[in-house]
């Protein structure tokens, strides 16, 4: 599992509530990513980080924010959860940002918004 821990692993929340997912890595990798996986859309990048306090948007960033205050932790926040954000969320890490550097994934966080 490449030293990646996601929490919580499963969560049910109500529409309009804030939700924070945490990714913790023990590999000291510089790059961290949040993806979501949905039937019919595969894996899509939400946000990524290329260092402490350095983040950027992915292809489906609307409705999400991220923070990285320490190398090992990358937080994904849904400020006001909507049913369209029901999904499986995967954190991933890579050592560097150049092409050719393998990205390793965590075990996923299942989020249901009711």
């Amino acid at each position: 599992d490449a030293g990646i821990t996601q929490s919580p692993r499963h969560k049910v929340t109500e529409t309009g509530t804030p939700v924070t997912l945490r990714c913790h890595q023990t590999e000291n990798h510089r790059y961290m990513y949040w993806y979501r996986q949905d039937p019919g859309h595969g894996l899509r990048l939400i946000h990524y980080s290329y260092g402490v306090k350095d983040t950027d948007k992915g292809e489906v960033s609307d409705g999400y924010s991220v923070s990285r205050s320490k190398t090992e932790d990358f937080l994904l926040t849904l400020e006001s959860a909507t049913s369209s954000q029901t999904s499986v969320y995967f954190c991933a890490i890579s050592d560097t940002g150049g092409t050719g550097n393998t990205i390793y994934f965590g075990e996923g966080s299942w989020l249901t918004v009711v």
């Binding site: 595969g42 995967f90 150049g98 092409t99 050719g100 550097n101 393998t102 994934f105």
Partner: protein, 113 residues
Amino acid sequence: GENVGLHLPTLSVQEGDNSIINCAYSNSASDYFIWYKQESGKGPQFIIDIRSNMDKRQGQRVTVLLNKTVKHLSLQIAATQPGDSAVYFCAESGGAAGNKLTFGGGTRVLVKP
């Protein structure tokens, strides 16, 4: 990433036979490709990668072939085992996207005993 239907393409293979999973990519600037395996309820697991300056790379029981002319990638699994049953994704990166991966829709492999 590619949008595909809700139903993944499925490859049924007899235990012990070889499996071939295909993937077409769209970005001619992509220069790095990865195959991932995803078992039910788990995250994608790295299998093998290949750079665009190669056309073949072998691992343990797996071989990846890259044909840049037709933008096609394949994963061959030798002597398929029940533990190989999973969804397999190809991913590409490079060009303007840098190291950000673009994933294919996935292929489900079912191994029959």
